[in-house]
């Protein structure tokens, strides 16, 4: 990913962002909420276009592909949405089977075996007849994970996989991501602001703020970062280089000054 510029309205989101995702590794992208981490994944997936800069996957420039080529590339990418994005009118089995039914003409018995294997991998084979509304947040995310890997992609992108989960479920997801990466040999991009979990599973971490990479390095070295900003982020201090206050005029002026009502 090279020199990416992207802005929404007048707000600059990425200002010359560059990073590499090595094959077969787990790469963590960390940064505070609102830095456009999800936007970054949408840029990688070709759902959004950058103002300038390129995203190259496996030698292909994502934003120069034709629609057909882009769709062919997407079949080799899995994405786990924060909400799971399960299709609410289909049950768990059909949700996982969905990409297979759309893209392949597999016979029913083979399709069933494939789906069962993926569901077994996330430990939800027994839940195959439930509807998405009957699942807990963690289960929904595991089903979405099974669906994301059903076409055996080469890249899988996780959008905030740990947010809003209890510690046990979080642990399950952490070990699942790790396991899948090792057994399937795929490249993973984990976007998150959960420092602890991200460092635990990632081989390499990028810290993003204000549209730029602030720091990067192997996960275990990040704690020794010299950047005051990274230290504030990792340790979760409320105030520091990243201010607690949203930019505003002087408090005194606002309360009692001439600009008041």
């Amino acid at each position: 990913m090279r020199d990416l510029h992207f802005s929404r309205g007048s707000r600059k989101i990425f200002d010359g962002l560059s990073l590499d995702i090595p094959r077969g590794k787990v790469v963590g992208l960390m940064g505070p909420s609102g830095t456009g981490k999800t936007t970054l994944l949408k840029l990688i997936g070709g759902q959004l276009r950058p103002d300038s800069g390129t995203v190259t996957i496996d030698g292909l420039n994502v934003h120069e592909l034709s629609r057909r080529e882009l769709y062919a590339l997407r079949k080799r990418m899995g994405m786990l949405f924060q909400s799971g994005a399960l299709l609410t009118d289909l049950d768990v089995f059909e949700n996982v089977a969905f990409p297979l039914r759309e893209h392949t003409r597999l016979q029913e018995p083979l399709l069933r075996q494939l789906v069962m294997m993926k569901l077994e991998a996330v430990g939800l084979r027994g839940a195959r007849e439930l509807m998405p509304s009957e699942l807990s947040g963690g289960m929904a995310r595991r089903v979405a994970l099974a669906r994301a890997i059903v076409l055996d992609p080469m890249i899988i992108m996780y959008d905030e996989p740990f947010t809003g989960l209890d510690p046990i479920t979080k642990g399950t997801i952490v070990s699942l991501i790790k396991q899948l990466n090792e057994t399937l040999g795929l490249s993973s991009i984990v976007v998150s602001h959960d420092v602890h979990e991200t460092i635990m599973i990632s081989d390499f971490v990028y810290v993003i703020s204000d549209g730029k990479v602030v720091d990067s390095g192997p996960a275990d070295e990040l704690a020794n970062s010299e950047s005051a900003w990274v230290q504030q982020f990792i340790q979760g201090l409320p105030d520091g280089p990243a201010p607690f206050h949203y930019p505003a005029t002087d408090y005194q002026d606002d309360m009692f000054g001439a600009s008041g009502p």
């Binding site: 997407r74 994005a85 893209h103």
Partner: protein, 259 residues
């Protein structure tokens, strides 16, 4: 100046949406051929759009027909033309009330549901998720629903008119004592297949296209929040009702107006 600016901005917004709506319609039409290989998708939507609207269509048709029978009888009786009741009921239904009332009910029953469903799919990232799975939501979600609406509407309008005729028959012949033979033979003699029935069907096809188009577009274009979806469903019902009534005048003028 400020008011003028606001007017300009509003007008630009309206035309921009209108443009987007037409591009969207074009994309949906282009996606339609891909459904040939997957008829089950369309059939399932016909069930939820058409079959589930049957009850409201049946009941409304019956009552509209009964009211027509009653009003027609009272007024025809003043100059002794009760026998024309059959023709009156049938023509009113086939030419106007069948297509129009069905389209209005369809917008309220099925159109709003379509908008809400698609809007919610957008809000819960299901559409975005499909795109990432290399599935085009226009082909998989929008096109089947659009086609289902366009197919369902004329059928529902036909059922509405048929039930309405029986409603008029029940009141006119059954309760008020109009001669049964006259009721049916007047209807048979005065309702023309080409001029009345076919024109009625054309109307309902046009209404079907417009009402379903508005419904799926509003859903697809909705702001993905609770408020955005509620506004989208409201706009669906209001805009498609207005469009149906406005188009009805245009079509009637073209078909029966001799303008």
């Amino acid at each position: 100046m400020n008011a003028l600016q606001r007017l300009g901005r509003w007008a630009l917004g309206v035309f921009e949406r209108l443009g987007r709506g037409h591009v969207f319609l074009l994309q949906v039409l282009i996606s339609l051929p891909s459904l040939i290989t997957r008829p089950m998708l369309v059939i399932r939507e016909i069930f939820s759009v058409g079959v589930l609207s049957l009850l409201i269509i049946l009941v409304s048709g019956l009552f509209v027909g009964m009211v027509l029978g009653l009003q027609g009888y009272v007024n025809f009786a003043k100059f002794g033309a009760e026998e024309s009741l059959g023709m009156f009921v049938a023509l009113s239904l086939v030419r106007e009330l069948g297509p129009v009332v069905t389209a209005l009910l369809f917008a309220g029953r099925a159109g709003s549901a379509l908008s809400a469903e698609i809007g919610l799919m957008k809000a819960t990232e299901q559409l975005s998720g499909m795109e990432m799975m290399a599935v085009d939501p226009l082909k998989r979600v929008i096109a089947p629903r659009f086609l289902a609406g366009v197919i369902s509407m004329p059928l529902l309008a036909g059922i509405f008119s048929m039930v309405g005729v029986y409603g008029g028959y029940f009141v006119g012949v059954g309760l008020l004592g109009v001669d049964e033979g006259a009721f049916w033979s007047q209807m048979q003699g005065k309702v023309d297949l080409r001029a009345d029935v076919v024109n009625g069907i054309i109307k309902s096809v046009v209404f079907g296209i417009v009402a379903t188009w508005i419904a799926v577009f509003e859903g697809y274009d909705a702001v993905p929040t609770s408020e955005g979806i509620s506004r989208a469903t409201t706009r669906t019902v209001v805009n498609s009702s207005l469009a149906v009534l406005g188009l009805d005048f245009v079509l009637t003028a073209l078909m029966f107006g001799d303008l």
